[in-house]
Symmetry: C2
Subunit: 205 residues, 2 copies
């Protein structure tokens, strides 16, 4: 009997995590589809297949749901950064990361949050996992940006922070969905187009 107790606890804990993962996955998809305001907690509960009150046992508020989804995306980003080929050049890594985020967005897996909502902002800022991930990702991207600028392949006159923001903004670029609606290009072509306008600009070279 001594051995069964920890096994049962571990099993229960695993089920719990699995359920929370399912919740986060639903939130992620709904956030990408409809945005934060339009997504309702009832929808999330229905999508996961549990009662709304049960949701609130796992996450104390709608804002926390969104923050957990963002933290999840941030973890995926960290994994992606880790898996980049170490011998790739800094600018090549940057291009791959941006292409990856645009792929997520086009696949409907990139949650889109309003940057104005204050209760949401504080929930995000108070979420340690998310903030740690954001800082880590920003540091690594920032290092590549400055390295690429020193190499002279990225415009050294641009403040690195402006470049970082520009890259982040591709994750919520409305151009992606507009081109997708137009139905003239497939996802890979759209990504190539926006990647080109981002890195090379729209002026001729």
């Amino acid at each position: 009997m001594v051995s069964t107790t920890p096994t049962k606890v571990s099993f229960k804990a695993q089920m719990l995590l699995a359920r929370e993962d399912a919740i986060i996955q639903s939130v992620n998809r709904l956030l990408a589809e409809k945005g934060f305001e339009a997504m309702t907690v009832d929808e999330v509960a229905a999508d996961v297949g549990i009662a709304k009150a049960s949701l609130y046992k796992h996450f104390p508020s709608k804002e926390d749901l969104a923050a957990a989804a963002m933290a999840s995306v941030m973890r995926r980003a960290q994994v992606f950064l880790n898996d980049l080929p170490p011998d790739a050049s800094p600018i090549d890594k940057l291009r791959r990361v941006v292409a990856w985020t645009m792929g997520l967005k086009l696949a409907g897996e990139m949650p889109s949050l309003p940057s104005q909502n204050s209760s949401l902002r504080s929930a995000l800022m108070g979420h340690k996992d998310y903030m740690d991930g954001l800082m880590d990702v920003s540091d690594r991207l920032g290092a590549w940006i400055e390295a690429a600028q020193k190499q002279g392949v990225l415009n050294p006159k641009l403040p690195s922070i402006a470049v970082l923001y520009t890259l982040y903004a591709r994750a919520c670029d409305p151009v992606l969905e507009f081109l997708k609606i137009g139905d003239l290009y497939n996802n890979d072509e759209i990504i190539a187009l926006v990647l080109s306008t981002c890195f090379e600009g729209i002026e001729a070279r």
Copy 2:
């Protein structure tokens, strides 16, 4: 008595238009500040200084309020296009237009609408003034884009529609507000920075 009637009618009509202009101005500002979902009709009424029921005599729904605000911005854009120096080159005109829209955004006069909301979309599509303005502006920008591509100063490999979307997207670029929050650059510097990344890209030239 024959002459007084039309005078009174004209006066009343003028007051009506003035009030509707005031409403649209408030809506414009609130949309820029908080976005469509967070803006409440009560707020608009309070800001204008009239009762909410009176608002609904002028505009049948919240969506129509937003559509009227967008139509107003579109008219301003048409005026701006008309006032551009006729001897400027196409690409120069494009740069000036984009800089103007970013200035509006930084000044808090560019309404930001969620591109997903369906009831809002149909209200916009059903608003003749707005749609006519949008088509006119798109046609003129599109002509300049293709002229600049023929001149070889804009990348001819990019589909002109993708360039058009890219320019439109600068009106709601989150990079603008992030740089503004950072407080390291003034509005003119921010506009110059984003204009540079947009036209020349982030890669070195």
